[in-house]
Amino acid sequence: MSIDKTQELVLNMGPQHPSMHGLFRMVVHLEGETVTHIDPKLGYLHRGMEKLAESRTYSQFIPYTDRLDYLASPHNNWAYVQAVEKLMGVEIPERAEYLRIIFGELARIASHQVCIASTALDMAGWSAWSYAFRDRERICDMYEMTAGSRLTVNIMRIGGMSAEPPEEFWPALQSFLDDTPEMLEEYYGIFFGNEIAMGRLKNVGILTKEMAENLSITGPVLRASGVDFDVRKAEPYSIYDRFDFKVPVRTGCDSYDRTIIRMDEIVESIKIIKQAVRDIPGGPIMAKVPKVIKPPVGEVYHRVENPKGELGFYIVSDGTTKPSRLRIRPATFINLQMLPIVAKGWKIQDVVAIFATLDAVLGEVDK
């Protein structure tokens, strides 16, 4: 019987669409409001980072890494410079490691705030969005006073940090840390505790543990599916083994857990920053590295826990000043693979929400 079947509607969402987080485009096949098939189309923000890297020296590529996941740019710097340091065998000073931890975790908080905000905004929760962005501004201010930029921070160098935080940084950080419980309470009150938001997110877009592992999902999305895996614990890079923190895991596998797990991660990040501020030693922030960076022939793969998943850099060096091949393993690009699978059968509104909970940043997806 063909008469009781509605005609399929092929809807093109993006790249210019209010909820597509940048320049994402997907072709959605609809039956009424129900999604039958999603075909994501990428590449609208493709800048050829990997090709660019082959014509830049190792130091010159650091500002480019800012533009990958631009919501957590210190993390991208961190992954990249650590990969190069691993390749060269550089030991960096203690203080620089602590500063990297502080900025990395601040970036994690900022990124998660944006995720919460944009998830709320994709469901028209305007106030939740503006409150989260208001609080993120304070982190941006801290970046600004240290590195001179609010978004593309470019704060790390091969061998250390670019700048010592100024005097006024520490009180600002302290007051931010003191205010965070109140902030989280506010996000919870206005968004996560709201029955409408719960109804929109709970039991929607189920990504089971097996599916997540099979699809190479990483980051909070994986942990919301009940897998206890965090690179910071599994393969502690930098000095993460010195800190006492938990890896939040939730077992709901749904959109709600994928979003609220970021609140838990903010709490853990605050714990780490507090310990780092307590223990930070004095001393130099830059190791002795040669002016012209020329790693030996070899290859290295280094991964860090980006706020959105695992960010990996695979560098093949041929002994010159420029990398022979630089491969970026973008977390959200791979996480995005779950969207067509998970969103099938849900309403078009849920697709928007599921996409928001993935926290895809198109700078990273499209490289």
Binding site: P18, A124, S127, S130, F191, I196, R200, K347, Q349
Partner: protein
């Protein structure tokens, strides 16, 4: 004291006195010509109310949006930005009127005009003060609901005529949503009608001189608020124009003044719905005597509108299946139970009072 009371009385009946004066200009104050003139004047007043309401409400909406997110809102044009909407309106007038290729031109063009007419038709039966209903008809509530349900058709026309998939989705959502919510909306009003034994809005207001019906019918008021929000396509029920999903729904392809007409219509409808809520549940122009009745009325309308805006900027949008569940599985049974309880209450009241 006496003069004060007299002054109050004059103020209260100011518009009635003016109307009497105009009627007095005719040889026979109740001739066809006098009635016609009065109708034209009433019509002009209602148009002014709709346009003024839209002008003020668009600004207020943006101000409330600003305040909730700790911003001042528009603050450049005029004192504290009060002329912002006028500038917006001028800008809209200067815009090119684009009709998309492949659009159903007649339907596309007529939809915003119809939606702009509806609030004028509905606002015409609202009693703004004692004896101040522009048109006093006995089936006021019935008329109001009947007219306001036409807006469903406008959304569908706009959605279909635009030749745009987003618009079509929005239009279809509008139909599903607004038809569903009309039923609980009407049922919630029936409780009040049962108490007053009248569909006439003037009579309903008169009946509230001791106690507003929100006290007698709290469930009905809540149902009315929810259904009214859904009927107006206001957040959290703004699935029709959900910009995160269907861009702007039926309005996606509209530009310039046509788009502006949709806005006028939306805010006019909002005023009308608030006016109905104020009339039926909050006691209309009834209020302590130190202010004229119409002032009380507009204050109540203002409070209702403010609550709607406050809700809009706080809540996320509801999902379409939850929306339908809410209408058919929660609000409809609840409103029927409310009618039953009202009936029982009336029966007991009569039994006790009448013996």
């Amino acid at each position: 004291m006496e003069t004060l009371k007299y002054l109050m009385e004059t103020l209260n009946n100011l518009f009635l006195i003016i109307a009497e004066f105009i009627r007095g200009l005719f040889a026979d104050p109740h001739s066809v010509w006098a009635n016609l003139t009065m109708n034209v004047i009433n019509f002009i007043i209602v148009v002014i109310i709709v346009v003024l309401a839209a002008l003020i409400l668009i600004l207020l909406e943006r101000k409330v949006a600003g305040w909730t997110s700790q911003r001042p809102g528009p603050n450049r044009l005029g004192p504290r930005g009060w002329f912002q909407t006028i500038a917006d309106a001028l800008k809209l007038m200067g815009k090119e009127d684009v009709t998309p290729a492949g659009a159903d031109k007649f339907i596309f063009k007529i939809a915003p005009m119809i939606i702009f007419c509806l609030p004028m038709m509905t606002l015409a039966v609202i009693p703004y003060g004692r004896g101040m209903a522009p048109i006093d008809i006995d089936l006021g509530i019935f008329y109001f609901v009947a007219i306001s349900s036409i807006s469903t058709l406008c959304f569908l026309m706009a959605g279909w005529g635009s030749n745009n998939k987003y618009s079509l989705l929005g239009g279809m959502r509008a139909v599903a949503q607004m038809i569903s919510y009309e039923i609980p909306l009407l049922f919630s009003l029936l409780g009040v009608v049962m108490i007053t034994q009248s569909f006439n809005l003037g009579v309903i207001v008169e009946a509230q001189d001791t106690i507003p019906f929100i006290v007698l019918q709290p469930i009905a008021f809540v149902i009315f608020m929810i259904a009214g929000l859904a009927e107006l396509n206001r957040a959290p029920f703004d699935l029709v124009e959900a910009d995160q999903e269907v861009v702007a729904g039926p309005f996606t392809e509209y530009t310039g003044l046509r788009w502006g007409l949709f806005f006028l219509g939306e805010y006019g409808n909002m005023t009308a719905m608030s006016a109905l809520a104020a009339t039926v549940f909050l006691g209309g122009w009834q209020g302590p005597g130190f202010l004229p009745g119409y002032v009380w009325f507009f204050m109540k309308v203002g409070v209702m509108i403010f609550i709607m805006m406050w809700v809009r900027w706080t809540f996320p949008r509801i999902r379409i299946d939850h929306l339908m569940h809410l209408a058919w599985k929660v609000l409809l049974p609840l409103s029927i139970v409310n009618i039953l309880l009202t009936g029982l209450g009336i029966y007991i009241y009569r039994f006790v009072m009448g013996g």
